[in-house]
Amino acid sequence: MIQTSPLHNYHIYNSSPQGRVATIKPKDLIYTNYLYNSNTFSKFTRVLGQKQYEIQDHLGNVKLVFNDYKELTPISVGSEKYDLNVLSLLNYYPFGMSMPGMGFEAGGSRYGFNGHEKDDEVSGVGNHLSFGNQGYSPRFGKRWNQDKVEHIDLSPYVTFANDPINNSDLDGNYETRVGIMLRQAEESYLKTGDKEALMAHYKGNAVGTVIGIIVITLPATVPLMVRNPVKTVNAVNAVGSFTVGLVDDGNQINTPGPIDDAGRATKGFVKATIGNLTKKVKSKIIKFDELPSEGVVNPKSIRFSQESIRKTFKNGKSFSGMTSDLKSGKLNPKDVKPIRIVEKGGKIFTLDNRRLKAFQDANIDIPYQKVDYNKLPERELQKFTTENNGKTIRIRKGKND
């Protein structure tokens, strides 16, 4: 953010600021304006310093708080400059504890790490955050309560999926603002089929094709560094547009690759990059009642009904073949018969385990159709043999193994 003439230019913080106006006690600085019309005489008063603005980073962490009062600093006769009236400047350790000596609070902000309200009266300044009503201790990186959202692969006491650099916890879902935007773009693509809009989201305003290096100009912000278990992606040039250099084992990749239906590069590491961001988003737990009767869903959110499956479909083709066809784009997910899903004990199970496994392995959203568990024929109920609540499924040995 840059203040322009007649004020001096100040670089406050990179990327687009997300302001939140908070009310504090009025200061004594009063700006008065008079307005006249034919019948009345009115006086309007605006008290400066009442409005606070926050600059947040990509996780919603409040880094800087300032107000609307310009602080006058005389330099010499006839020359003056105005300073930004900074109320607090905060830097955080990954799990949200503020770094001692790396910031200050004067007047303070009500909001801090992840944009959540601070409950300073609980255990000292900056040592407890409300996190909705969950209660969070940034010094321990733990909540007071279990996560209200159930995640199959995570302990309910884990915060930020143990990855506080990439994830923020807006609502217990580990969604960053960037992640939400990408998810919305993907959902919109699946609804409308508007590939151009999706590609625009992936590519930002960059002109050209997605190759080794992509330029993302997102209206919000992009994590400065995205860690991926396999590949590493570094974002450089943090102001305005983001040039994402894709690095594999320390070598920059510049090789163009073909692009699949969703506008992702199928070679190189663009897909891995975007996949990493969207994968985090997709870990959101879905409730059966909230799903439309049919559509597409993240396969990881559906459980298996059987304990084991055969390697092949009825027609003799292997489901691993389906996985690779899905990955390569040879098979369009829309052409696959939707899996039937039912709710049992508050959890979502499928009756079509092999197709689900193929889509899980391909990490592609799967078409589904809701079925009423209570109306299932007895024979289908007998399919339920899972012993671990459908989290995983065993693949049986084939005749050639």
Partner: protein, 83 residues
């Protein structure tokens, strides 16, 4: 669809079940997931192997070490649709 009593099955009921199953195959084999002998036998092995899980989800009065005619009807019936 082969219906049978899931509480108890005697010798005659099991024989009746097998007849129903045979007729169902004659009329309806395209709806059987495992409609050839190889896949059906493989499914029989699989469901027998997964019987513990079956008994978690389906309430039965028998157990694995004390099977009844109903056990065999369950295994045969499930093998029709087991993936």
């Amino acid at each position: 669809m082969i219906k049978y009593n899931s509480n108890y099955m005697n010798y005659n009921e099991f024989k009746n079940f097998l007849e129903l199953m045979y007729n169902n195959y004659l009329e309806n084999s395209e709806n059987w997931e495992n409609n050839n002998l190889e896949s059906f036998l493989e499914a029989l092995i699989a469901i027998t192997d997964d019987l513990d899980g079956f008994l978690i989800h389906n309430e039965r009065k028998y157990n694995k070490n004390n099977p009844s005619w109903l056990t065999f009807a369950d295994i045969l019936s499930t093998a029709i649709i087991y993936e």
